[in-house]
């Protein structure tokens, strides 16, 4: 009897999930190929007029650039914007301006890796300053959000999932939080030196 109940519950849940997922997908009108310029069509990115956010009847919707048009040639990822943004900069696909006030401004890139060791059963978190300082200033994170001193900023995954600390960007603009192992990338058994010596290195 119990097993039967559980089965019914599971089938109902799966059905609901499927219905919830397929509903909005079917409502969106698929635009003609000429509307969206991309070699593999409009599949990866929704066009402006069908993204559920822009008003397709408004005058602006047809004037704005579609994501597919700009993003299809960048290194691809599975989540977020479907773009590996850091690789796009490093490999020269894009060259975003570092400043609008000073035409000679160079980004202050810092090549310093930080390992956060207290991650429970997950692999440890490797934070590469270099990838972040190619986009951001020191002052965007320090000292108000993260202290420079080792171990001075205490936060957990719960804070990040609620949009604090790393979650200010990751989960909103930078790659989303479904990519656990982008951050949790250092397995304990792979380390040859004791963890305490490795909290900051390079």
């Amino acid at each position: 009897m119990k097993r039967r109940l559980v089965e019914i519950l599971l089938v109902a849940c799966t059905g609901l999930m499927l219905a919830a997922c397929s509903g909005p997908m079917q409502e969106q009108t698929v635009p003609a190929a000429s509307d969206v310029f991309a070699p593999d069509g409009p599949g990866r990115w929704l066009p402006i007029i069908a993204d559920g956010l822009h008003d397709p009847t408004g005058p602006g919707a047809k004037q704005l650039q579609n994501p597919a048009e700009a993003l299809f040639y960048l290194p691809s990822a599975f989540s977020g914007n479907k773009v590996r943004w850091v690789e796009a900069i490093e490999e020269g696909y894009i060259e975003p301006r570092p400043s609008i006030l000073d035409s000679n401004y160079k980004m202050q890139v810092l090549d310093l890796d930080v390992i956060r060791t207290r991650t429970g059963e997950m692999p440890m978190v490797l934070f590469p300053h270099r990838k972040h300082t190619e986009w951001l200033d020191c002052g965007n994170c320090h000292e108000w959000l993260f202290k420079s001193k080792r171990g001075a900023t205490r936060f957990g995954m719960f804070d990040v999932l609620s949009g604090e600390y790393c979650g200010r960007c990751h989960g909103a603009v930078a790659f989303p939080l479904v990519e656990c192992f982008y951050c949790h990338s250092v397995r304990r058994k792979d380390l040859k030196t004791p963890v305490t010596e490795l909290e900051m290195h390079k």
Partner: protein, 139 residues
């Protein structure tokens, strides 16, 4: 309790149950939200609709191809938190916030109302779109 269950349910079914729950969990994480706008799009609708305009849609993807984060979040002074920037149209016209670039010199100017004010009526302010978890408070 467990032993009683075990005697009634065949072993393979017991193994199936946690698996199915896990599958469901993964499914919930990976399915896109109904509003499937581009990841990082920000709806700014604190005042727009009250003033009779469409909500503003700010596309992060469009801007980060052209500018690094620091340009807006250091030089222009946008705080990294949707809703904490009090943007008035008067500020933009006088060259603050969006108006630091959207001034007909770096980018098109604030006379092009429809290019920003392009959202569907009734949208709520905030970062929308993309396969985020939304945080435990939203599960």
């Amino acid at each position: 309790m467990t032993s009683r269950l075990r005697s009634h349910i065949p072993l393979p079914a017991l193994g199936l149950f946690p698996g199915a729950v896990m599958m469901l969990g993964v499914f919930m994480l990976l399915t896109p939200f109904p509003s499937s706008a581009e990841y990082g799009d920000v709806v700014i609708n604190k005042r727009a609709e009250q003033a009779g305009m469409r909500p503003v849609i700010f596309p992060h993807w469009f801007h980060r191809i052209r500018f690094r984060c620091r340009v807006c979040h250091t030089e222009v002074g946008f705080e990294i938190r949707a809703g904490s920037n009090n943007i008035l149209m008067a500020d933009i016209i006088e060259g603050r916030f969006c108006g630091k670039c959207h001034n007909n010199k770096i980018a098109w100017g604030p006379q092009n109302c429809q290019l920003c004010h392009s959202g569907l009526p009734g949208l709520e302010s905030g970062v929308i779109g993309g396969p985020t978890t939304g945080g435990p408070s939203k599960w």
